[in-house]
């Protein structure tokens, strides 16, 4: 890791300022977002190893203008003295396009002057590729030797350093931050019965990532072996306790997508009609924000050049706020919340979640378990899907541990597909533990595209859900 803001982006600042000045004579709003994201993914398993670029790697620019009616953007790899006339000609052609479809009525984005630099470096020791391969190989071989049931073990670490620059008529912002995502996957087999365990998390220290990966692999092996005796759940309604990763999945799918305010502009979110009304148990408070906690989606400003914030979405069961990108906030007459994010410089900015979580409560986990007559403790996020207009929910946990008369029975169910009506689920929450964990291992799509890195989590929750 360089632990420094991109030399490449900085070398373009003078040209970009000239480009903004030139376009500014024609357009009331002009901005340029520059991104330079680099990193490496090192993957080791039983028989192979790979060193490939981080999946988030990109370098490019988004030039954005407002022609008085609509916003137009040009994504490009290169801004050079030579190609500036071509870029201007292209953006003029795009902005001058006469559509047969009427434009939305939208105003110009107003910005306050702001110049700022932000830096968050990788913590702890740095490692060479050779050292990381050697450590991961050691973890893999040790795990394979620890159980004859282990067929394969994969351990990886993705390191990413992000440099972003937002320049407009009013703003000149730079941010640099780093992240590491260790992941593992353990495959076990007994006869013709095959199962797997997996884990992953996000942290801004490669040293700590490597340190914490080994116990995560051990836990994944243990879970995979337990899953060999798992059964498919009998469909029905059950009392459950959700582990923090499933709590986060519920927060994300149940209400996170539903308060993305670009959905409000499109009349796509039922929650729009529920502000200052009860939407959840009074035990529930929910936040989202790049500045709400520290995890993989903690940046300093978003892709619209809006500073990171901490947005309280649900306050003791009452819906109090949504989250927004700059353009949606403008259309709704609200202040943006710093949630404008792009999959890459090649894509549009949408309202996106960042770090989303339920706040901790006061219950003791042991008391919550004791209170279950017959139900399950659900753990390990697999996937989920939102339905913000109609408040359906589907969340899949890798497994659930059976609880009978307040005790774990040792029986395990998998996979666990929870579904139902968001409001029923959120109102069924009858206990919130004092624990708190946010897990930053996953990505979130909008519909089935536009993937961005997010985190989610919270405490243990006791709720009633449909498992089918």
């Amino acid at each position: 890791m360089t632990n420094k803001f991109s030399r490449y982006l900085r070398s373009k600042k003078k040209l970009i300022r000239a480009l903004i000045d030139q376009l500014g004579t024609r357009y009331s709003y002009v901005s340029v977002l520059g991104t330079d994201v680099s990193g490496t993914t090192i993957v080791v398993d039983k028989s192979t190893a790979n060193v490939v670029p981080s999946g988030l790697s990109e370098a490019g620019f988004v030039i954005k203008v407002f022609n008085g009616q609509i916003y137009s953007e040009l994504s490009t790899n290169e801004i050079t003295k030579k190609n500036i006339p071509i870029l201007i000609s292209e953006i003029n052609r795009l902005a001058a396009h006469k559509s047969t479809i009427a434009p939305v009525k939208v105003k110009v984005l107003n910005e306050e002057p702001l110049t700022k630099r932000f830096v968050r470096k990788n913590k702890g020791q740095s490692y060479t590729v050779e050292e990381i391969i050697s450590i991961l190989k050691g973890y893999v071989m040790r795990t394979l030797m620890s159980s004859e049931l282990a067929v394969n073990v994969r351990a990886s670490i993705e390191t990413t350093e992000v440099s972003k620059m937002y320049m407009s008529k009013q703003k000149d912002l730079e941010q640099y931050y780093t992240w590491a995502n260790p992941r593992c996957y353990v495959l076990v087999r007994r006869g013709d019965n095959t199962k797997y365990g997996y884990d992953g998390f996000g942290i801004n220290s490669i040293e700590k990532a490597l340190e914490d990966l080994l116990p995560a692999i051990d836990k994944s092996l243990k879970t995979a072996i337990e899953l060999l005796d798992s059964v498919i759940p009998t469909p029905g309604y059950y009392d459950v306790i959700t582990a923090p990763s499933i709590t986060g999945l519920i927060a994300h799918e149940a209400f996170g997508h539903g308060v993305e305010m670009d959905m409000f502009v499109r009349d796509r979110a039922r929650s729009q009609a529920y502000f200052n009304k009860s939407v959840a148990s009074p035990l529930i408070t929910m936040h989202d924000g790049a500045d709400a906690t520290f995890s993989v989606a903690s940046y300093f400003f978003d892709d619209d050049g809006v500073l990171a914030q901490d947005t309280k979405i649900i306050d003791n069961g009452i819906l109090v706020s949504g989250i927004s990108d700059a353009l949606s906030a403008l259309q709704l007459g609200k202040a943006p919340t710093g949630n404008g994010r792009r999959e890459s410089y090649k894509r549009k900015s949408y309202t996106r979640m960042t770090n989303t979580f339920f706040s901790p409560g006061i219950a003791k986990l042991s008391d919550m378990i004791k209170s279950i007559k017959h139900g399950y403790l659900l753990a390990q996020t697999n996937n989920g899907m939102e339905d913000p207009k109609n408040w359906g929910i589907q969340c899949t946990a890798q497994y659930g541990r059976e609880i009978l008369d307040g005790q774990f029975t040792g029986k395990i169910i998998a996979p666990v597909v929870m579904s139902g009506y968001v409001i029923d689920l959120l109102n069924s929450i009858s206990a919130v533990s004092r624990d708190f964990e946010v897990i930053g291992s996953g990505s979130c799509g909008k519909g089935y595209k536009e993937w961005v890195r997010v985190s989610d989590g919270g405490p243990y929750l006791k709720a009633k859900v449909k498992i089918g």
Binding site: S47, A49, V51, T76, E90, R270, G392, A414
Partner: protein
Amino acid sequence: MIKQLCKALSAAKSITDWLINETTTHSTQAFYVMQKLETTRLADTREYSVTVYKEFSDKGVAYTGSSSFVLSHKLSNADLNKKIEEAAFAASLIKNKRFDLVPGTAKRTWKEKPFGSEPLVLLDKIAGVFFKEAKENLRFNSLELFHTTSTIRVVSSKGVDYKKTMHRVNIEAIPSYDGADDKVELYRYLTYSKIDFDVLRADAKAALSDVTNRYAAKAIKEIAKIDVILRDEDVKSLFESLIEDYSYDSVYRKNTDKVIGDAIQKDVTGEYLDINLKPSSKADGFDRDGVLLSPTNIIEKGVITNYYGSNQYAQYLGLKPSGLLATIAVGKGKTSYERMKKKPHLEIIALSGIQIDMYSHYIGGEVRLAIYFDGKDSHPVSGFSFSGNIEKCLSALVMSKETTALQGYEGPKYILLKNMEIL
């Protein structure tokens, strides 16, 4: 830039071989909010993925190590050489079993026919087709149109120099219905390699008809078990899951205990599966390694006949690589859609997302819209989930004679899964 790359890589003494993937994208995009134009975008980008290979031996064992990096803009020769040397060093640490890069034939180019119209004008026309089908309370609250021309070139030290150009229009449409009591929506993602406005119109109409049904949908009555019909994308997802573990790398990593000659359907009382993989179009001539693509049979009469996948892992299994093939092609069924619908059933129109776990033999999902036929009448229903055992489903599988062609799938439009649990 590719000339600079080829020159620098050819001159690098620290590597044995190299391979460049150049991707040039011209994408025109239009975003509509409540049927009005909100944003227009152009993305003109060129990106390079460079892989360097290093052959070496250690204690008498031969290895081929590799490492990759990406480039989005021109570097100075010194910076480029530094990147190559860093990658070469990383490759020297990778002790992967030795394999050969794909040898090149003559320089070749494949091209799909472009759509014809200027992209912004074409997107405008498509939006017009969609919006013309709408009414005041039945419309597309969000419509996103993407016209993308991608040119992919693969050049390697082994003489590969292939280029292919493909064109696609992708549409994300949110059909929405505002009723007296409620507002509902559905999600549609459509991909076209040919523009036929009659097809687009029919797809827009179908999306609006489906969302009208969602508004009319009621909670399902007490049904414990029933036959379920899946269609289009859900059928594709199921077939993809069925062959997922028969790729060369999956087999090499022992993700499956099945081998060529094993049956994936047992005690068959329904129809046998034939599953092939093929290129996405005639212009899809090669994969990222430079393997020339042709259709490959994976499952025949329910039995595994071949594995599939990349050059490296094919060689590890001692097989000729099929290459990375983008389209799954399934043999059509023997049962007409009309016949499939004769007995009581649920036809699923929209799921939250089909859930399939091959290791646990699970299939299921939350249903956003289905049509329930009770033996006499049909009713739109929603707000329930279905689940079942995938092995049992495959034994009694029924596939339609009617076929469909989606992005990445050609085959039966409908399949019937017997005796699924409903909650």
